[in-house]
């Protein structure tokens, strides 16, 4: 842990809070998010973009009676914070009351997760990132393919202080390397890793994985769209969890009647168990939310049955329960969100998963997915960077990418095998820990030219 940075963030939060209270507001909450992040990007087997950023945002929510106003700034000086408080209070004085405003959350017991911080990542230099890029590129060179990708490292501090006594502060690190390899005939492959400790990411191994797949996808042929059994690699499973989290596991989605989630409702096979756990060291830990509430482990799906949803302070009050620590920065019309989803592993090796396909497709990843019918969780998207026909349990060869239009709930119900290995990957907003899966009945609805 880097307590100095968290302490600095807390001090700024406390100063903003003091300015807010001097405005005569009823309640106030200051959220401080500070980051030093950098990203080295490569394409055509050379570094072409290379960036770094020092940034801070102070988000102030104030309440006058039941009127809520929010303002944000990047200024940390006294005048900037005074103006911030004035702006937020001015908004709160003119908006209408929220009749069911339940107040800002109170303190919860927050225990830091030391595994969420790593010194090597915090100190990662441009030279360190360039070395990793060169390792990926070298692996591609060895395989005769071209390399594309990025390596990001980030040091993030967050602090929340509110007028109910919340005082939360922490610092964490994250890193992510992604790479796409492209063969001379246009075949592509993908590999990715995310970690708290950037030095544990084996850039050369990821480069080899993507390069081998790019080679294996050479001379892909078209297959007819239709229903296939599929093995989804971990990179593709990320999208299932992300989309279901977005569409259904939020308490606000349930309260508004737009979610599929319902306690006790079966939505998956017995093999599907999904939780959200910001404390799981296998992921990228985040131990309190943007309202300063300790994150709870929430069972979302247990052996195929809906068991829970995630709450922030306001949605929790509406249901008469406690926040699970899944609030996002105010104002937040989207509701709480599971940022640390973890899917339980199964018993199958990668080879077992593929061997179980009589005739089906092995999918590396999905691309540009979007809900077509949110409540039924019907989603469309494309396959990308490695799709293969499997017959008799053996990979026959590469196929051109396909479009699918598929209910992700039906996909959970059709899950017949789950991989025993899991990967830590970044998702839409947070991080996920996922295995590969085999699913019976995946509907492909179109093809493309590559």
């Amino acid at each position: 842990m880097n307590d100095d940075r968290a302490g600095d963030a807390l001090a700024i939060a406390a100063a903003a809070l003091a300015h807010a209270l001097r405005e005569g507001v009823t309640e106030a909450e200051a959220l401080v998010m500070a980051e030093d992040s950098a990203l080295t990007r490569f394409a055509n087997s050379e570094i072409h973009q290379n960036v770094a950023e020092t940034n801070i945002t102070i988000n102030l929510r104030v309440v006058v009676g039941k009127r809520v106003g929010v303002a944000s700034t990047g200024r940390t000086d006294d005048e900037g914070l005074r103006r911030l408080a004035g702006n937020a209070a001015a908004i709160a004085r003119v908006v209408e009351e929220l009749d069911d405003w339940s107040g800002l959350p109170g303190p919860t017991e927050i225990v830091a997760v030391p595994a969420g911080f790593n010194r090597a990542t915090a100190d990662a230099s441009p030279e360190f990132r360039a070395e990793a890029a060169r390792a990926v590129i070298a692996a591609a060179d060895d395989a005769g393919v071209t390399s594309y990708g990025s390596f990001a490292t980030s040091l993030e501090s967050m602090a929340v202080a509110n007028s109910n006594g919340v005082q939360a502060g922490g610092t964490r690190t994250t890193s992510q390397l992604i790479t796409v390899s492209m063969g001379p005939d246009g075949g592509t492959g993908y590999a990715e890793a995310a970690a708290v400790d950037a030095s544990t990411i084996d850039a050369a191994a990821l480069g080899r994985e993507a390069a081998a797949k790019a080679r294996a996808t050479a001379n892909a042929v078209s297959v007819e769209p239709g229903d296939y059994s599929v093995v989804l690699e971990e990179y593709a499973v990320v999208d299932l969890l992300d989309m279901l989290g977005y569409l259904g596991f939020s308490a606000l989605a349930v309260q508004e009647g737009r979610s599929f989630a319902q306690d006790g409702k079966r939505i998956g096979s017995d093999l599907v168990t999904i939780a959200d756990d910001g404390r799981d060291p296998a992921g990228l830990p985040l131990w309190f939310d943007f309202e300063g509430v300790a994150k709870q482990r929430v069972r979302l799906v247990e052996r195929g049955v809906c068991r829970g949803i995630v709450y922030d302070a306001q949605t929790a009050a509406r249901d008469g329960v406690a926040s699970t620590g899944h609030g996002l920065p105010a104002p937040n019309p989207y509701g709480p969100f599971p940022l640390n989803m973890v899917m339980e592993s199964g018993a199958s090796s990668r080879e077992d998963l593929i061997a179980g396909l009589d005739r089906g497709l092995l999918v590396t990843r999905f691309w540009y997915t979007n809900p077509v019918h949110p409540k039924l969780a019907i989603v469309t998207g494309m396959t990308r960077d490695g799709t293969f026909l499997v017959e008799g349990g053996k990979i026959v060869g590469p196929v051109r990418n396909l479009r699918f239009t598929q209910s992700y709930l039906d996909a959970l119900a059709g899950t017949v095998a789950v991989g025993r290995e899991r990967k830590t990957l970044k998702g839409m907003l947070g991080a996920v820990v996922v295995p590969a899966v085999r699913i019976d009945g995946w509907t492909f609805t179109g093809t493309t030219e590559h």
Binding site: A38, L39, F42, A43, N44, S45, E46, I47, H48, Q49, N50, V51, A52, E53, T54, N55, T57, V68, V70, A71, S72, T73, G74, R75, A90, V95, E96, L98, P126, T146, Y148, S150, V180, M182, E256, G257, A330, P331, N332, P333, W367, T369, N370, P371, V372, I378, T380, M382, R384, N401, R403, T405, Q406, T443, T445, G446, T447, T448, E449, H450
Partner: protein
Amino acid sequence: MRNLTDRALDTATARGAGYADVRVVRRLDESIAIKTGRVEGVASGESEGFGVRVLVDGAWGFASSHVMTDAEADRIAGEAVRIARASATALRHQTRLDDRPPAHGTYETPLGEDPFTVPLETKIADLLAADRAAAGIKGIAFTESIYAAQREWKTFAATDGSLTEQVITHVGAGIEANAVDGDEHQRRSYPDSGGGWGAGGYEVIRGLRLAERAEPLAEEAVALLTAPQCPSGRFTIVLDPSQLYLQVHESCGHPTELDRVFGTEASYAGTSFLTTDKLDDGFRYGSDLVDIVADATAPGGMGTFGWDDEGVAAQSVSLVRNGIFVGYLSSRETAPRIGRQSGGAMRADGWNRIPLIRMTNINLLPKPGMSLDQIVADTDDGLYLASNRSWSIDDRRLNFQFATEVAYEIKGGKKGRLLKNPTYTGITYEFWRSCDAVGDESSYVMLGTPNCGKGEPGQTGHVGHAVPGARFRNVQVGVGKW
């Protein structure tokens, strides 16, 4: 401001940069979110900082900070040079920029009514009136209405002597009515899902007349719950501007980005089927009726400015002329590789991001001859699709699939009954080649999106699209199992 930009450029040069530019950006935001007649969120925000971009021996480096001091300018310029030297350890081609005259001057979005001086109470009351009108319709489960305004003060300076100052203001607003019954969830929105956006002042918002549109919109959302499912098959479709603009965005805007063509977005956003050989060969992108331009001078568009973020003056570039692919969105680095000058499409999402090739205003030009109503009247049997619901396209921008909020059956030249859950899919160039009618000026409207994603780390772009309605033949409609 000049002190800080001079300081950053001087330090970058002293540390070894052959070229450097610096952007200082202050951004002011205001937003209102209303749900089902309640003001759920009102927020204002400001962000200020600077970013320094350098070329050292042909390698790029960029660093940025929110701390606006001379000392930080030195640190950030030095860091940018260090990063560029790290880039040079994995460099195979030295970057060269095209020649362009140094940029000088100022630009400001023309405003009728400054959105930041309109009282907040007025803006909330206007939005509430529209939202409550929609929420009051029987059968509506929830409504969502949004208003947002953004202003950027942007100073650009470069070691070639360029210095420009711009003030750019964008506004947007919209309403959305949702009806839910069991597993069925139907939505209607106006002017489009995500709102209507443009460059200008509060007069843009007043011009939307949200409150007048709210009740019929909500009634249609409720009616969709019991409407027949849109059929599957090959149909003639007429696209309303509220859907056609996104079709242009996804299937013409993105594939004409020259950085994608050269692979520099391959790890994330993907590449493009519009490879440079197709430019040389006069590739037929669409029918003769299809004329598409990237016009950074178009009034009211969110892609309108004085200079792009590397100091190239705003201009209009033809992308597709009479159906033939003729040009790209380009930059000072990419344009020389096809023997052209930059088309001025480099745009950055704030002070802490590098400029990337982004859409400006990608406009499908209207054609004299038929209004949109006349196109419908000229259609014996087809579907009229309006308001985007979802979008997806492959990583080379060929296979797309869109869903719209609503379809209206067209029979005998008349719009008839509602159909729910419409989707359509196709291959980009086959689709545009099937275009056999483009509406005239009467339906030509400037729309746009404030959330175009690209780049790593992620950037969100504000882009404009002026489009009329248009008709397409033999399109696959109704995809998937319902």
